[in-house]
């Protein structure tokens, strides 16, 4: 409380000083902003707000336990840490530029590892591109393929960057929602319960549809799309000649015996799919910012053009660390000692623990089939505490999150841009 009071009073003092200065402030402002020209490029219109920046700042300010932003608070596995240590103390030339489209040992291992999984032989030079995180992969894909006026189908709820990236490319996002079927009393809701309506999905495709963004396992729901669900998406993509941008960063984090399926492995999909992965999520090393795109050369060549005209190279040593990490994993793939077996097992226990904790305070979690997120229905709270502080049209879930950060020692992200009513039934 004292901290809160202190922070607020400092803010007020700052304002008062500004007001006292009066005319000279105005003059100073005028002198500072002498450029008459519009500064911000039009492609950035409406894109300045970013929820992560806001909530991360709040969590730090209120010293909250941050369960909001998606990164582990545990270390990467030992073999990954060692791989990075080898990369930084090994060959001197790893301190210098590597190949623009990917450090060769990394593109080689990605091609061999994922070729098997996608059932398609991958050429490290033409079918693999290394990017600055999966975030960078998404940006590169949008810039390469989405033109002004193109429509991009985005499934709600979605990782927030899909919308601004579509807009920055001059595209038009077209939303379709996953919707939960009602559960019986006492039955725990599951992410598998959230589905797309096939007719509704089909209705979203128009001659202007350039791409559909698929995210499986889904952030924030944790839904793992089934074979049937993917076949539906696949058949519509083929029917309407649409590119599928498949964000599969959580591909190893699947629970309860669920199977992650890459849509690129379905018939007719390889030639129209970009499959995006992340070292950060794979090896619990988000700070390495290494991601990749896998796809057919006729699409990848456009991503390479964007890449060489935006950042050109990715850092060498982090790529070398990821390459060695994959090489280690390839040796024990599918075995109990594999990190890709151990991590989901550990995460499943955390998931179950979290679900029980939430239930114990009257919240209603949606049990995720994958990813390391869990969403929870707060409608029980809304009926008890309908008036939380916030801006006039601020959705309830955002107000709830801010209230929770300030009053309870746990932060969480508001579920953007899911329609708040979905969480405020009753």
């Amino acid at each position: 409380m004292f901290r809160n009071a202190a922070a607020i009073s400092l803010h007020l003092v700052g304002l008062l000083q500004g007001k006292k200065a009066g005319a000279s402030v105005t003059r100073h402002l005028h002198q500072t902003f002498t450029m008459a020209k519009q500064m911000q490029a039009r492609r950035l219109k409406g894109l300045d707000y970013n929820p992560w920046v806001e909530y991360a700042r709040l969590a730090t300010e209120y010293d909250a336990v941050n369960l909001g932003q998606g990164f582990p608070d545990f270390a990467p596995p030992d073999f990954a840490l060692e791989a990075f240590q080898h990369a930084v103390s090994g060959d001197l030339m790893l301190n210098q530029y590597t190949k623009a489209f990917g450090y060769p040992p990394l593109t080689k291992i990605l091609a061999s590892f994922f070729g098997k999984l996608l059932g398609h032989e991958l050429d490290p030079l033409t079918n693999v591109l290394v990017t600055v995180g999966a975030y960078g992969a998404l940006f590169t894909a949008f810039q390469a393929l989405v033109d002004e006026g193109d429509e991009v189908i985005i499934i709600e709820p979605f990782f927030d960057c899909y919308e601004p990236m579509t807009l920055m490319a001059g595209g038009r996002p077209v939303f379709v929602s996953l919707k939960p079927s009602p559960t019986r009393d006492g039955e725990l809701n599951s992410s598998s319960n959230w589905r797309l309506d096939p007719d509704e999905l089909a209705s979203k495709f128009t001659p202007h549809t350039k791409a559909l963004v698929l995210n499986t396992p889904n952030n924030p729901l944790g839904k793992v799309f089934s074979q049937t669900e993917l076949e539906l998406v696949a058949s519509l993509c083929q029917q309407h000649n649409v590119v599928c941008i498949s964000d599969e960063v959580y591909q190893w984090l699947v629970f309860d015996g669920c199977q992650h399926i890459s849509i690129a492995s379905l018939p007719g999909m390889w030639e129209r799919t970009l499959t995006i992965g992340s070292a950060g999520k794979t090896f619990s090393a988000t700070g390495w910012k290494v991601g990749w795109v896998l796809g057919p050369d006729h699409l990848m060549k456009h991503l390479r053009t964007v890449h060489q005209n935006s950042i050109y190279h990715c850092p060498t040593q982090t790529q070398a660390a990821v390459a060695e990490s994959f090489e280690k994993e390839q040796l024990c793939f599918g075995q109990p000692s594999s990190y890709f077996v151990q991590l989901p097992r550990a995460m499943q226990r955390s998931r179950d623990y979290m679900a029980r904790s939430l239930q114990s305070v009257g919240l209603m979690p949606v049990l995720p089939q994958g990813s390391y997120f869990l969403i929870t229905d707060i409608s029980g709270f809304k009926s008890k505490m309908p008036d939380l502080p916030g801006a006039a049209n601020e959705p309830y879930d955002r107000r709830f999150v801010k209230w929770m950060i300030k009053n309870k020692p746990v932060s969480s992200e508001g579920l953007r841009p899911l329609h708040p009513l979905l969480f405020c039934k009753g």
């Binding site: 020209k37 950060g280 456009h302």
Partner: protein
């Protein structure tokens, strides 16, 4: 046949195609035509697929070639820089996301360092952005501030990415060449290459959004003087234009020269974004970290681009860079500070290159800064007749030299727009941030070459 029928099935519903099938070949053509239209590149990257480095790197990849082409040090980074990264790699909690606009300890170090030069406080959170190399800063600046229909002035020769980045933003590059003054028996220097002030002014008009300045200059190594920068600053203010100042070689200036920052000129801070590079500062190009420094009202737009493109840069590399900076910030007047020791080391290599090039009749332009040296190859009169294509002379010369002399360089016309290529086609760029054994190998080749000629 089955596959063709499947594709036909999907086409029929969307394009109301023919019901009868006469020839499966006709179908396949239509299928691939329909597919290829939708899978074509976006307009923003039309014509931007070519890249000079891809071509020449491949050429020089032959291990028997002495590579003085790409601007990549083969010298070791300083020991303490490598050590900081090794230390960081032992720390578990530096492997997760850090602050998107720049790791806190790094932006603090950058702010502390640059405040000394800008003689003003630099807000680490609002006036600094950390990017994926200086390349990333250029991209963020252009995407953040340049609109479709804008004009951007680019000085020729230019670091090759300026043109495609400006075009990708839908803007029009407007070129102005550096021109050499007559040398009259003196040693040819990068300072002999200047801009004509009237010609420069003629390039400015109400559509001019920005001018891209590069000092020290790649490829010439020109270090712009106070008077030259004042001309540019005056025009920026007169025409209300931004200045994107690429100063990646800021520490690499040789005796008798001083690096000046145009953002410190009156009226320039509020309209300039200044770009720096860890790769060039600490000889760690593979760390791919750069930064933009400028007023909040400009940097905030670069930050918006960042949060919609890559979001954040790698954490451990940023932390190691911050620690390396702190070591040198504390000893800026010490000759052992890398900002002082590297230019001293490179000046020796520069002078060695000048002698080597002169000894074989390659006429060098002595650079005042940077780590490249240009040579005029016309007096060599190399026999390039078996390279019959339409490429500029210097492209053919470099290919011939790489193949026949096992020495690689980069043609200067690669740094020119299509109109000015011919003006610079007798010039070739050599990189000299190379260890002594590499320069020894180059010397062997050049001595043998010179013996062959006499």
């Amino acid at each position: 046949m089955l596959l063709a029928q499947k594709r036909l099935g999907s086409l029929v519903s969307s394009t109301k195609f023919l019901k009868t099938v006469n020839s499966s070949r006709l179908l396949e053509f239509s299928t691939s035509a329909a597919m290829s239209l939708k899978f074509k590149n976006t307009k923003r990257i039309e014509g931007l697929d070519k890249n000079v480095w891809i071509e020449f790197t491949k050429l020089a990849a032959d291990p028997s070639v002495v590579n003085l082409g790409q601007g990549l040090p083969d010298i070791s980074p300083p020991a303490y820089v490598k050590e900081e990264l090794s230390k960081v790699a032992m720390v578990d909690n530096l492997n997760q996301y850090t602050r998107g606009f720049g790791h806190p300890s790094l932006v603090k170090a950058l702010s502390c360092l640059y405040e000394k030069f800008y003689q003003k406080q630099i807000n680490p959170n609002k006036e600094i952005l950390v990017t994926v190399g200086a390349y990333g800063s250029l991209f963020n600046a252009i995407q953040g501030l340049i609109d479709e229909g804008d004009e951007v002035i680019i000085i020729v020769p230019f670091y090759d990415c300026y043109e495609p980045m400006v075009r990708m933003a839908g803007a029009t590059p407007v070129f102005i060449p550096l021109r050499s003054k007559p040398v009259n028996g003196k040693r040819w220097s990068s300072s002999d290459w200047t801009l004509d002030p009237q010609e420069l002014e003629s390039k400015f008009n109400p559509k001019t959004k920005a001018i891209i300045l590069n000092t020290p200059h790649n490829p010439f190594g020109k270090v712009y003087t106070k008077e030259e920068l004042q001309v540019i600053a005056d025009l920026c203010i007169k025409y209300d234009t931004l200045c994107i100042s690429d100063e990646v070689y800021e520490w690499l200036v040789y005796t008798g020269n001083k690096h000046l920052r145009i953002a410190t000129f009156p009226g320039m801070w509020e309209r300039t974004v200044t770009i720096g590079s860890a790769g060039k500062t600490f000889s760690v190009t593979g760390w791919k970290l750069g930064w933009s420094i400028g007023p909040e009202h400009l940097i905030k737009h670069l930050q918006t681009v960042q949060q919609n493109t890559i979001y954040t840069c790698a954490t451990p590399l940023q932390e190691a860079l911050a620690q390396a900076f702190w070591i040198d910030i504390k000893r800026m007047d010490d000759p052992e500070c890398y900002f002082n020791s590297l230019p001293r080391e490179l000046e020796v290599k520069r002078d060695r290159m000048v002698h080597l090039l002169e000894s074989v009749g390659l006429n060098p332009i002595v650079p005042d800064g940077g780590y490249f040296i240009i040579a005029d190859v016309s007096s060599l009169d190399a026999d390039l007749s078996d390279l019959k294509n339409e490429e500029p002379y210097d492209y053919k010369f470099v290919k011939w030299m790489t193949k026949n002399k096992k020495l690689s360089a980069i043609p200067v016309s690669a740094f020119c727009d299509s109109e000015t290529k011919l003006q610079f086609e007798k010039l070739v760029r050599f990189c000299f941030i190379k260890k002594d054994s590499t320069l020894d190998a180059a010397e062997e080749i050049i001595k043998a070459w010179s013996r062959q000629k006499s």
